[in-house]
Symmetry: C2
Subunit: 346 residues, 2 copies
DNA sequence: CGCTAGCACTCTGGGGCAAAGAGTGCTAAA
DNA sequence: TTTAGCACTCTTTGCCCCAGAGTGCTAGCG
């Protein structure tokens, strides 16, 4: 792979990509020769550019328009050419001072993080809330409403509070509800939610449940409380930032993009996938697997508490984004959020 | 006011506005004469149009481009010309079947309502969650986290669950926390939140609080739990719908609009204001008081529970929107939501 | 006296066209 | 192997012109 491109060709490719990142315009041989003087004439650079185009790193929008990086070009740039800049102390401070857990709910903090990712990167910020499945049972509470409806409140160790309204066939007395929640809080606290689910399911199979009225009620109730969509939520902030990018100057592209943002499900999938891997991940163009966001890239990282990865965050921008600036921002923000959730909530 | 326009002139104004609503184009005298035959020649209609322009109901984008309604024009149309269509049984059914309280949390329902407002109207849906201040205390719960931090969960009668993380100077034992929440639940249940606040404040002034250690702790804790932003939240859905409207074909307008959507605070103000009045309200163009959404109108209504108004919802679209279709949608949706919250949760 | 037909006038939008600019690929020479 | 030169291509821009749409005004009609 490294043999595919000579040292010189790599330098030129890098120059072209960086020039394009800076200007958003197709870059021509003359410009490269002038801005990145390496003792080569435009003609030589043209030859190299032709080679790079044949190899699939560049393409020309039309005959006389200079070259633009392809996805493969960006991928190569990111993998082997890019030098990630470190954040200065000052920038770190600026980032860390934006967030505060105290006096807020976790969702608000996550939204703030997303907002700050967007405003610092000048692209669009993305934060996926911890998925219930991955966190640990902390507390459950049942509040009776009218007409046999019950409000369930489920709290996880990461400080997330979920609630939903469920319906029981037969009305339960406040006293029963209290007994039930006491029982559940006693036996379930500290278990990961997925184990909680298993446990309840297993319990329902056991013979005892058939004869113990209250136990039976408890189990149906908690099953209802846990089933269904306790999914992660995505906080997308700063969507309008991305509209300043020249590639979204035409209305059609813009519309596509916003439609894509409205389908949060796909984003959740992607972010969940990105959680698997360590550290910062970069998805370029079609690698995101998202429709309608051609020409966009996504930089993600995951955040975690003591027990492991619980969520993911990132920045979405044009493929022509300033990777070397955004990568450390995403990286540092993820660490910061991990730290905050780890120290304070568990 | 009614004397300002003759019967005929009103008919013509109505024709022009309806034509413009349908086509999004400036409308000329010939078109009016053809599409709304009333035995008048284009020339006559031209005279009338010139009058209407002088009076400020119409304006021409340029000399040879037909007329377009002004804000005053729309206002007059909405106030005196508009015939609001009733929803058919079928449409009502379609609307009411979209929502379901069971198995969801209130926030999700509100988001669904917003989404459905947008998808049925084909504009953008807006729902403001009940403001804490306006609802009634139902339950409070304190869960200790590490390092003297406490997660407070506050439930209101309307089924809203709020939570935040607060910090106590001195650590409190779980036992104390339990006592505290028991006390609060006993004494506060059924009081409107604003009365709760007053009550706590009054209590703090009383002499007793100085000597009763636990009471003092209780009061500081609950004050912290209640203070600050328990504001309404706005759910904006279907923003991309509005992009299909031809008036947003140029990128600059679009960008403005999205920036406006991101400043939810202004929208909250407006929706809160609209809560004061009865029934459906219409804000045309600058009447919204929002910047950056020139050429947009807002149709709102409020929803309530047994005790009174608790929130507002609406649709935002171009001033050229189909008022007669959207008004009943907003109206019916508000009733529906009121009904849902009233019957089921209180 | 109100309505209308006719007409001159105005403004926009689109098509066509040419020139300018940018950039390429190729060839031949250093 | 590099480079200078050159012919070629394609887009962009400006310009002009014309068609189309619509207006305002005037004069005549019922």
């Amino acid at each position: 792979m490294t043999t595919e491109l000579s040292e010189r060709n790599r330098t030129i490719l890098e120059a072209i990509i960086e020039e394009h990142i800076a200007t958003a315009e197709p870059v021509g041989s003359r410009t490269v020769a002038r801005r990145h003087p390496m003792g080569l004439s435009p003609a030589t650079i043209r030859n190299v550019m032709a080679d790079l185009e044949d190899l699939g790193y560049l393409r020309s929008p039309h005959t006389s328009a200079g070259r633009v990086p392809t996805e493969k070009g960006y991928r190569f740039y990111v993998d082997t050419l890019l030098q990630v800049r470190q954040l200065t102390q000052k920038e770190q401070k600026q980032l860390s001072s934006s967030y505060q857990l105290r006096g807020h709910k976790v969702e608000e903090v996550l939204r703030d993080v997303s907002r700050s990712l967007s405003s610092i990167s000048r692209y669009t910020g993305l934060v996926m809330a911890p998925r219930m499945e991955t966190t640990v049972f902390r507390h459950i509470e049942f509040l009776p409403l009218s007409q046999g409806r019950i409000l369930v409140i489920l709290v996880t160790r990461s400080g997330l509070v979920q609630n939903k309204i469920i319906e029981t066939g037969e009305p339960l007395t406040p006293r029963e509800l209290e007994q039930i929640s006491n029982y559940l809080n006693r036996t379930l606290t500290g278990l990961p939610i997925h184990e909680v689910k298993e446990k309840i399911f297993a319990e329902m199979q056991r013979e005892k449940a058939r004869y113990d009225q209250l136990l039976a009620k408890t189990l149906t109730l908690s099953r209802q409380a846990l089933q269904g969509n306790l999914d992660g939520e995505v906080f997308i902030e700063g969507t309008s930032n991305i509209l300043d990018q020249p590639e979204f100057a035409n209305v059609e592209t813009m519309r596509e993009l916003f439609r894509a943002f409205e389908q949060k499900g796909r984003l959740i999938d992607l972010l969940t996938r990105s959680q698997q891997a360590e550290g910062v991940q970069i998805f370029i163009g079609s690698e995101t697997g998202l429709e309608g966001i051609d020409g966009c890239s996504l930089i993600t990282s995951h955040y975690s508490n003591r027990r492991g990865t619980i969520g993911a965050l990132g920045v979405i921008g044009p493929s022509r984004m300033n990777y070397s600036a955004v990568i450390p921002i995403v990286d540092y923000t993820a660490r910061l959020l991990s730290q905050m959730l780890e120290g304070d909530i568990e």
